[in-house]
Each structure stands twice: as structure tokens, then as C-alpha cells.
Symmetry: C2
Subunit: 184 residues, 2 copies
């Protein structure tokens, strides 16, 4: 059951995302979020001591990870995670918010640190899936899981944010094959 | 020899980068660039019909590609390109400018198109190096050069702009080995 407090919190986070999407980080102030949420600045400050803390919670709600898949095959599990991620990139406000964050983090070390933490949380499901694949012997024991996660996920960020090219059907399968195909 | 016209052009591009770095894209106007360059707006418009055109030329000067390496080995050539790229990410204003561009491109399809063109130009040296490796038989004939370029370069973008983690010594060698190691 959602308590009254949870509803209020969600309304404030939704307002924060609205402000971020419309005005970018330059316009992201407690005042603007309070106005949009119909709340007082004091109420916001009670929950979030800084705009950075509010921003991170708001960003986190745009990235709702699926339950970590566990199909018994590392290829299927990685494919499922990456397919969900492509949907997030192509069908939600997530990339616009992330782009604003990328720009701001480049200028503000505190935001950069916050984004490091958010990114670590987002990497968790892939790391779990790779660890299970290693236990089952599908991935060699010398394969670095962190680098493997970079190789699997970064091409999709790059396509979207740098190359600005559509992500073709089949790209998930190709990346998974290139990165996870066993070497004999 | 640099002609008087080239010197003036370079001064305007340097001013454009200064405005972009200080004020972000929100403050990137012909007026601001003209003021900083000590030139008239008319002079700027004579060379660049739109702020977008000026922006692209300015961005292009921040990314000075090395001559495409040709050592006779695809691994050495790719390593050389990626090492130069890491230096660009860690030691120059390039990433701050690119971050501003990433944010702006997400909101403006015209800028997104311009960035696609810039990115294609930047990918050229790696594609040349991979094509030579294919001719020499170092890379299989079925290996997609575009996807290989994505896999080689995107982990560095991701580390810097998304994960905000330092790029460890040795990461270039690891990525090259994972992506280009011949499959037997």
C-alpha cells in the first residue's frame, strides 16, 4: 500500500523530473520544483538537503531496472538486460535527463560523483548475470566482469548520445555475440 | 604560411570555443562570439550562416586527429588511435565541449544531425586501420568494421561521460585485446 507520505514524495520527484526536462539543469532549483509540485521549499528541504540529493532520487526513478533475469544462460540474460536498456533509450525521457546530467557533471565534481554512484547501481544486474555465467563455466575465469559490462553496454550509449544514429534491430544480438562468444 | 584571413578565422573559432566553454550552449550566440573575438556580427555571418555551422567548425578544431597510423599491425594502429583519444579526453577542453553538445543535441534535431556528421569524420581513421587489417588477414572478412569501431571506442566515452571513472593505464590494451583478438 502506498502511504500518504509516499504519494507526496512521488509527486515531488515527478515535479523535479518535469523541471529538469523543461529547463535543464540551469533551471533546476528547489524553488522551481516546489512551485511545480505545489509544495513549500521547506517541505522539499526536509526530504532532500541539497538539489543534488533531489536530482539523484529523481534520476533514479527514471531508471527502473527490471528484475535481474535468470534464464540459465548468460547470453539470454545479457540480451534481456540490453533489450530493456535500448527501450529505455528509445522510448522514455531517460536519455534527455541523462544528457543534461552528462553536461552538468562535466562542470561540477559533486554531480559527477553522484552520477558515478547512480551508474554503479545500474551496472549491478549485468554484473550478477556475468557472475552466474562464470559459475556455470560459460565465461572464462580470467574474463574481467567490469570490462565486459563496459563492452556490452557502452556501444548503446555511444550510438544514442554521440553518434546519434538509430539502434538497428539485431544490434543487441551482435554486441552480445562479439563480446560473449566463447574463445576456443 | 597562414594568410591574414586564416588568422582571423582562427581567432573567431577560438572565441567561439571560449564562449561555449564559459556559457554553455545556452549562451552561444553570434553576438557573444563577435564580442569576444572583437569582430562584427556581419563578419561572422559572412563566414558562418548559422550558429550551428559555426559550432561545428569550432568543435572540429578541438578534435585534431593525428595522421592515421600505418605500422603494419592492426593492433598497434588501433592502440595508437585510442591512446591519442584518451589523451584528448583527459587533457583538453574537448570533453566539456562534447558534453554541452550531447545535451543540446538531445533537444535539437539539427544539432543532432551536425553531430552525426562530426562523429563520422572522427571515425574515419579507425575504419581505415581496420580495412588495412582486413586486407592483411589480421581480421576475419565477416567482421563488421562499423560495429568493431563502436566496440573499440565507446568504452572510453562511457567511462568518461557516464561512469565518470578514471581511465586506467592498460585499459586501451585490454579493450584492443578483447575486441581484436583473433578467434581461432
Amino acid at each position: 500500500m502506498v502511504s500518504r507520505g509516499d504519494g507526496a514524495r512521488q509527486r515531488m520527484l515527478t515535479a523535479a523530473l518535469g523541471v529538469l526536462d523543461e529547463s535543464g539543469l540551469a533551471g533546476f532549483t528547489m524553488e522551481a520544483v516546489a512551485r511545480r509540485a505545489g509544495a513549500s521549499k521547506a517541505t522539499l528541504y526536509r526530504r532532500w538537503p541539497t538539489t543534488g540529493a533531489l536530482l539523484v532520487d529523481a534520476m533514479d526513478t527514471t531508471f527502473r531496472p527490471l528484475p535481474t533475469p535468470d534464464t540459465g544462460s548468460v547470453v539470454s540474460d545479457a540480451t534481456e538486460i540490453l533489450t530493456a536498456f535500448v527501450t529505455l533509450l528509445e522510448r522514455t525521457p531517460f536519455p534527455r535527463l541523462l544528457a543534461a546530467f552528462i553536461d552538468a557533471a562535466e562542470r561540477d565534481p559533486a554531480l559527477s560523483k553522484l552520477h558515478t554512484d547512480l551508474t554503479s547501481r545500474r551496472r549491478e544486474p549485468m554484473l550478477v548475470v556475468l557472475a552466474r555465467g562464470r559459475e556455470r563455466g560459460e565465461i572464462g575465469p580470467d574474463t574481467d566482469p567490469e570490462l565486459t559490462t563496459d563492452l556490452l553496454t557502452s556501444p548503446f550509449f555511444y550510438r544514442h548520445f554521440v553518434a546519434h544514429r538509430p539502434i538497428p534491430r539485431g544490434m543487441v544480438a551482435e554486441v552480445v555475440e562479439r563480446v560473449l562468444s566463447p574463445k576456443t
